[in-house]
């Protein structure tokens, strides 16, 4: 896996007393109480049994994970070349959200975070819709009103994510409570980062979940960093999962770079939700890239910290597993990457060809109906634009 390097290497400091080199915790999964199916070579060495997933479903997940990686590669370049304003990288985090989404049925609800494009793709959202949002064009169902990668789509039972990290944890409880009150059997999953565990809403939501037992799986994607804040500064707890103990919420730690392990534990937690209530799953993974395009990780972490995770790349591991099962080979791999890159290029082309949202739409959806103030402002703006166009026409 590539680990993006910053240009600002000058800011790096050399430590005098070199501590023992960093170690990837996934290497000692059993000792670290991390549930696992496959090792770094794709071999079945973990404590969890191999999940029973139909080959076509498994391959679809792998192909989606590769597409997600390819989107990140390209999105980063689009941002750095000034074609989109903002990017939130997700390189290295593909196993958590793809494995978890695969464990849910399409009519279940997913409340996603902002590093999870695979949720959209696995639910069947067209690629071009994603890029229409990144570019803020007409094909964006959100009408140019959300940052790139703050995705979601109600039509696919995916709640659009917010930048108020953690705020959507109680929302998920509320949705699950509504389902319970209405008597329907929908299941819910919410994904958030390790940093969100310090937000008050994390505690409120877990407390609520412990008392009311809603069918919610809370997935804490522990990627090691909340911007520049490492786990040691975020919490004194040994794990994020164990915080569930305080609230009476079932909890466990899973290898977040092992899509099969994520699928297994999430599927089990989902299936028991209506009887047993919520589960808090900590998925141990690593943010290989920047926090966002506004970040510079060279200011706070060593390249060696990143490098130990490279052999545990979720794509490599799953590919090796598939190759062992004779479901995959180099030829298919090369063809997949070629196809993904071509589809992305086509989606970018199609999205950039779209019109920008028309100015009149700016006033829609503030309320279910338009207030007099909105009507007045809209009329003024449209008159100004018409006048401007008239003058342009005279030149």
């Amino acid at each position: 896996m590539k680990s993006p390097k910053s240009s600002a290497t000058d800011a790096k400091t050399t430590k005098r007393d070199q501590p023992p080199g960093p170690v990837c915790p996934l290497q000692n999964a059993a000792a670290n109480n991390i549930r696992q199916v496959i090792d770094d070579q794709g071999k079945l060495t973990g404590d969890l049994p191999e999940p029973d997933i139909a080959p076509e479903k498994l391959l679809h997940m792998y192909e989606t994970m590769v597409m997600v990686r390819a989107i990140d590669d390209r999105g980063w370049i689009l941002q750095r070349s000034g074609r989109i304003e903002f990017w939130i990288p997700h390189c290295g985090l593909e196993a958590v959200h793809n494995g978890a989404t695969l464990a849910y049925e399409d009519d279940d609800w997913i409340v996603m975070g902002y590093r999870h494009p695979g949720v959209m793709l696995l639910r069947g959202v067209p690629l071009v819709q994603l890029f229409a949002q990144f570019f803020g064009r007409d094909g964006d169902p959100f009408k140019g009103r959300r940052l790139p990668t703050l995705m979601g789509d109600r039509r696919y039972n995916i709640v659009p994510t917010t930048t108020q990290v953690g705020s959507y944890l109680p929302h998920t409880c509320g949705m699950a409570m509504a389902a319970k009150i209405k008597g329907d059997a929908t299941n819910f999953m919410v994904m958030f980062g390790d940093g969100s565990s310090s937000r008050g809403e994390f505690h409120s939501a877990l407390n609520f979940a412990g008392v009311h037992k809603p069918p919610v799986v809370f997935i804490c994607e522990n990627n090691g960093w909340a911007i520049s804040t490492p786990q040691s500064t975020q919490t004194a707890s040994a794990t994020y999962a164990e915080k569930g103990d305080a609230y009476g919420v079932r909890n466990l730690v899973v290898d977040g770079n092992d899509a099969l392990a994520v699928y297994s534990v999430v599927k089990e937690a989902r299936d028991m939700g209506h009887d047993e209530g919520a589960t808090l799953i900590e998925a141990v993974t690593y943010r290989m890239g920047y926090h966002t395009s506004s970040d510079n990780p060279d200011l706070y972490r060593e390249q060696a910290d990143v490098d130990v995770w490279v052999p545990w790349d979720p794509l490599t591991r799953l590919r090796k597993y598939l190759e062992r099962r004779k479901l995959w080979n180099k030829k298919k791999e090369d063809a997949l990457w070629t196809r993904c890159k071509a589809e992305i290029s086509a989606a970018i082309k199609a999205a950039e060809a779209m019109d920008f949202p028309t100015p009149a739409t700016m006033f829609d959806d503030t309320y279910e109906e338009q207030t007099w103030l909105l009507q007045e402002q809209k009329a003024h703006l449209l008159a100004d634009i018409a006048e401007l166009e008239r003058r342009e026409g005279q030149k």
Partner: protein, 461 residues
């Protein structure tokens, strides 16, 4: 010397309570600090201590008597050597006959606390939704709010109430009285003490197709939940391109209460009414409280519903109609006038109505407008009034900068500048956190005299 024991007040807003139980009998000796009775209020049970040493000479209000007004003499303590005749003398002198526990005779309500303007002026409910000849019934704002919720919960199974103390305890201010009994724990939900927690759960329930009423004990505590109100409830419809909405009501007491200090006494009207995506309502009368809360619950948008603790116990005429609603976004002309327009909302309507009475005695005819809704703001009614009176004074208990009055003054400049014969004046609370001391609290709030002076000033009188 005999000493009267008066019905105590648990809080400055308590007006009456129940003498639950006497723990001492007539003729028993009491020592300062002894617990002599238990008093129940709408909030809690409290123990009444003897302040003086002596003999419990006479019990004037029997155990179990409800509706005893604050400051009513309830017993007489005799000093050593005095006999019961002294107690009788005191009792008859005070004009209070012993009241039997059965049947219950409600005592008259006590005078409102010092900072509350005196007795309400009769307010005509808005005529537009009330057919001529409609029967009217007197009810408190508290009862009107409860009835509005109960009626909407009967009408629509998706409506439910959640908040601190709303179920078992019937509401910290007893607004949800009887709702748990009628609708059960599925729809009247007690939450943990976490405003950002249950406001967020409410937003999620609205996403999930229900219509939550989220009660904040007061809006002071909603500060913790303001992220959910603004960043989630108000923006979701817009940011999802119209895909998802949060039809819900955030309601509770807003504004200065009485003697509860800076962190419990502030008006959030200006805060919320700045936010696109929210509707903001702040009624004065019981009829408006009922009609507007029903509309708020039915509204497809999130509505912030700002009540006032000091108005909860006040009675107004409410029409007896099967389905009485008041449209959000419509102000109400409570009193027509020709010389100056007084604009107010919630409890500040009291100041305006009383000022109008005073002004009338001095030959100034004041028009009084109750805004009722703060967003959308009914600027049309305001502009039409100024076209007639050419003068305007706004009244609010909140702070001046960026307040409701500031907004109205700006709108008048933009839309009615040529009709104004004087600058719009604002009467507001003082620009300080609310003090606790009784005298300072009174000084920090507007007065009727302030309104009268401002009205005369814009009339150049």
């Amino acid at each position: 010397m005999t000493v009267q024991i008066l019905m105590p007040a648990l809080s400055p807003t308590m007006t009456e309570g129940t003498v639950a139980r006497w723990l001492k009998a007539e003729g028993e000796t009491v020592t300062s600090g002894d617990i002599i009775a238990e008093i129940e209020t709408d909030k809690a049970t409290m123990e009444l201590e003897a302040i003086d040493d002596g003999i419990l000479g006479k019990i004037l209000i029997a155990s179990g008597t409800e509706g005893v007004a604050v400051n009513t003499p309830i017993a007489v303590i005799l000093e050593e050597g005095e006999d019961a005749s002294a107690a009788d003398a005191v009792a008859s002198a005070s004009g209070t006959a012993p009241i039997a526990a059965e049947p219950t005779v409600p005592a008259p309500a006590a005078e409102p606390a010092a900072s509350v303007p005196a007795a309400p002026v009769a307010v005509a409910p808005p005529a537009e939704n009330i057919p001529v000849g409609t029967e009217m019934v007197s009810m408190t704002v508290r009862e009107a709010l409860r009835d509005a919720m109960a009626e909407e919960m009967r009408r629509d199974d998706a409506v439910f109430l959640m908040g601190e103390e709303v179920a078992q305890y019937q509401g910290a201010y007893k607004v949800s009285q009887g709702l748990l009994d009628e609708f059960g724990a599925r729809r009247v939900i007690d939450t943990p003490i976490t405003e950002h927690g249950f406001a967020g759960v409410g937003v999620g329930a609205a996403y999930g197709g229900l219509k939550p009423i989220v009660e904040f004990m007061t809006f002071n505590f909603a500060m913790q939940a303001i992220d959910h109100i603004i960043n989630s409830a108000a923006k979701t419809l817009y940011m999802s391109g119209g895909q998802m909405s949060s039809p819900m009501v955030f309601r509770g007491a807003n504004g200065a209460a009485s003697r509860v200090g800076a962190q419990h006494s502030q008006c959030f009207a200006a805060w919320y009414s700045q936010i696109p995506g929210l509707k903001v309502v702040s009624p004065y009368s019981a009829a408006d409280a009922k009609g507007l809360l029903k509309s708020a619950i039915r509204d497809p948008n999130p509505v912030v519903f700002l009540e006032n603790e000091l108005l909860y116990g006040r009675s107004f005429d409410v029409p007896v109609l099967d389905d009485f609603t008041i449209p959000i976004g419509k102000a109400n002309i409570l009193r027509e006038g020709t010389d100056v327009t007084l604009v107010a909302f919630s409890i500040s309507v009291d100041y305006a109505l009383q000022a109008a009475d005073t002004l009338a005695t001095e030959g100034i005819s004041a028009e009084v407008i109750d805004l009722r809704s703060l967003r959308p703001l009914d600027t049309e009614t305001l502009v039409n009034s100024v076209r007639k009176t050419n003068r305007m004074v706004t009244i609010e208990e909140g702070w001046p900068q960026n307040g409701i009055g500031a907004e109205i003054a700006a709108v008048m400049m933009e839309q009615a500048f040529d009709d104004l014969d004087a600058p719009v004046l604002r009467i507001t609370g003082k620009d300080v956190p609310m003090p606790y001391a009784a005298n300072l609290e009174k000084l920090a709030l507007p007065t009727v005299d302030d309104v009268v002076a401002a009205a005369k000033s814009v009339c150049y009188r």
